[in-house]
């Protein structure tokens, strides 16, 4: 066990009736580390992060936040966590600023923090817009803003850029990069975009069918893999990027 880890996931299992969503996952996240859970749809990413978020309970295994379990510490954990769910729809007829105000109040924060966050996620111009009238990218930035209100120590983002066009995606990345530079936050981000994992995260965990296929830093992943692959006949050199790595690991594309 790593004493410095802010999140520890130990041998966690979770099933829904006959579906084994998560099958024996182990993870450790260090302070101010950014981790990507990378995997195709149905890999178990959402189930895994929601268990870390305390929204779902594992069938077996253990999840510790700063060395402590969820049970009995919920109040404390909620205060230091920020998150965005895979699909949340906020109240349609509430304005952007009003939505931030509402969520800020849960953390005993006032209007000033909402102003800061609005600037941070670049929604100043949409301040008075109804949530229902926002574009996909603006909605994701609002969700991100809500997640950042309490300056979370732990940030958990479930597919924050899925469905966005490249421009909107890059805007979200810029915000997260700034956050990384401030280095007071640990983040787990799920995605099925290679580029996102490469760009934002120090450590990448490749998941499929509820298990971890491979994990490491980007150079590690690409390097180790080449050693394994040398035995194979059709070997054409080390994978140049995660896309190729994923195909090598599973024999299929990530976006299928």
């Amino acid at each position: 066990m790593n004493r410095g880890a802010i999140i520890e996931v130990k041998n966690v299992y979770k099933s829904f009736k006959s579906v084994h969503a998560v099958r024996g996952i182990n993870l450790e996240i260090l302070p101010s580390q950014f981790i990507a859970l990378l995997g195709p749809n149905g890999a178990g990413k959402t189930t895994m992060v929601e268990m870390i978020e305390g929204i779902q309970k594992p069938d077996s295994g253990e999840i510790l936040i700063m060395g402590k379990p969820w049970k009995g510490n919920e109040k404390e954990f909620r205060k230091i966590m920020g998150l965005s769910l895979q699909e949340t729809r906020f109240i349609d007829k509430l304005r952007v600023f009003e939505t931030l105000r509402l969520f800020a109040s849960f953390f005993s924060l006032g209007a000033e923090r909402c102003e800061e966050v609005m600037t941070l996620v670049g929604l100043e111009e949409k301040r008075q817009a109804y949530v229902v009238n926002l574009s996909g990218g603006q909605r994701q930035r609002l969700a991100l803003g809500v997640a950042l209100l309490n300056k979370p120590k732990i940030l958990l983002l479930d597919e924050p850029t899925t469905g966005l066009d490249p421009q909107a995606r890059r805007e979200v990345w810029m915000i997260l990069k700034k956050l990384k530079d401030a280095s007071s936050t640990s983040m787990i981000l799920t995605t099925h975009y290679m580029e996102e994992a490469e760009q934002l995260c120090d450590y990448i965990v490749i998941m499929d069918h509820g298990t971890i296929l491979k994990e490491g830093t980007l150079p590690e992943l690409l390097g180790k893999s080449s050693a394994d692959m040398e035995k194979k006949e059709e070997y054409t050199g080390p994978p140049r990027n995660l896309d190729e790595l994923f195909i090598e690991l599973t024999g299929r594309h990530l976006h299928e």
């Binding site: 305390g54 909620r78 769910l85 349609d92 849960f106």
Partner: protein, 401 residues
């Protein structure tokens, strides 16, 4: 008007917000939740229509329909010879003489048939228009069976004979009115005199019965759709899940929702009453503070029920079904539009235990019978207990995601 009110209050609140005390209130989760719910509600035009416009239209429609004296038209079949047009002077019938003398208007129908119409105005009971038509006995029977006429006349040996179903009160009424007219044709120009005094003292009219019922129905519907449906929708949007992933107190969420709904119900009911007071001169005969207390307890009963109904499902279709399942029987049975005392005796004690019946009976007793605190004490307590029970059970079973 409500918009204006909200704007004014929020303006006032903002202008004094510099005080830290008020800042603490406006930053509080409960206040922000209340604001969010109120904004959501007031920004939905459909809500304003169903909550305010619809009950008022309904009271206007039903109130006018049942308050105004109705003019009726009855068809009377005349059997045998042609009574309606001029006949050879040697064989003038009694009916013919009567119709000529009183200037019954001759009319031709599309099919070439002739009829005579005679209108007897009546200020107090409503006028009656008789349509006399010549026809064969066979045709008269067909029309009688179809309900197109209820009185058949023929004439033999200088006497009029009336044929009708004595079990049919309408037929009896037509017979009584018309035979009286035959004896005293003067009634046509000298309508019924002062001996009839229509009872339209406040409190005894249909509208007096209807408006309290509509108020209670409004509260029920508003809680069912406003609380139940709202919760289910937020659950299906995963908004509840997102909210409890913050330090938000779960009870605050429900308290805010119910508070806003109750305030809205006060406004809705108030406006309906205001309207009925202006148009139909409805009054509250009993104690107003008792009414307010009773109204609140009714709101709590339905809000509790609504939380219970919505505690477990994330499917709006299921919510829809549940709401209808609970509210429909009450709307039909609880005597909102017509007294439930017309139902069979065995079912009445059951009906009386429905929350809507309890509330409607109570509100009516204050409005019409002049009831006060002592009369509504029991139902107030019962409704509070119902509300609390359902609320507690609902909260126990409540699924936040």
């Amino acid at each position: 008007m409500i918009f204006l009110f909200v704007h004014c209050t929020s303006y006032i609140v903002h202008s004094i917000m510099k005080t830290t005390m008020l800042k603490r209130i406006t930053n509080s989760p409960l206040w922000q939740l209340i604001l969010a719910n109120a904004r959501e509600l007031l920004r939905e035009p459909a809500v304003l229509f169903w909550g305010i416009g619809f009950p008022i239209l309904m009271s206007l429609g039903l109130g006018v329909a049942f308050t105004k004296k109705k003019d009726v038209t009855v068809t009377v079949a005349v059997i045998g010879r042609n009574h309606l047009v001029h006949a050879p002077s040697d064989s003038v019938s009694i009916i013919q003489t009567f119709l000529m003398k009183n200037k019954a208007v001759l009319k031709a129908g599309n099919d070439g048939s002739l009829s005579r119409e005679l209108t007897v105005p009546d200020e107090k009971l409503g006028g009656t228009t008789y349509i006399f038509r010549d026809m064969s006995w066979k045709k008269a029977m067909v029309m009688l069976k179809r309900g197109n006429l209820n009185l058949v006349m023929d004439e033999a040996q200088g006497r009029i004979q009336y044929h009708f179903d004595p079990m049919n009160p309408d037929a009896q009424l037509t017979y009584l009115k018309f035979s009286k007219l035959m004896k005293d044709p003067e009634l046509i120009i000298r309508p019924s005199e002062a001996e009839i005094r229509p009872l339209d003292v406040t409190g005894t009219r249909y509208i007096d019965f209807l408006v309290p019922g509509l108020i209670c129905m409004g509260v029920m519907m508003s809680c069912m759709w406003g609380v139940s449906y709202d919760i289910i929708e937020k659950r299906s949007k995963k908004l509840l899940r997102r909210m409890i992933a913050t330090p938000m107190k779960r009870s605050n969420f429900l308290v805010a929702l119910i508070t806003v709904r109750m305030a809205m119900n006060f406004v809705e009911s108030g406006l309906l009453f205001l309207f009925a007071w202006l148009v139909f001169h409805i009054t509250i005969q009993g104690s107003v503070p008792a009414l307010v207390l009773f109204f609140i307890s009714g709101n709590i009963a339905f809000a509790g029920l609504a939380v219970f109904l919505s505690c477990n499902t994330a499917k709006t279709e299921i919510g829809n079904g549940l709401i209808n399942l609970v509210s429909m029987p009450m709307m039909v049975l609880s005597g909102i539009f017509f007294s439930y005392h017309n139902f069979p005796g065995w079912i009445i004690p059951v009906i009386q235990k429905f929350p809507l019946t309890m509330m409607a009976d109570g509100v009516r007793s204050i409005f019409i019978e002049g009831a006060g605190f002592s009369e509504i004490m029991m139902p107030t307590l019962i409704m509070l207990v119902i509300g609390m029970m359902f609320f507690t059970a609902g909260l126990k079973l409540f699924k936040w995601h």
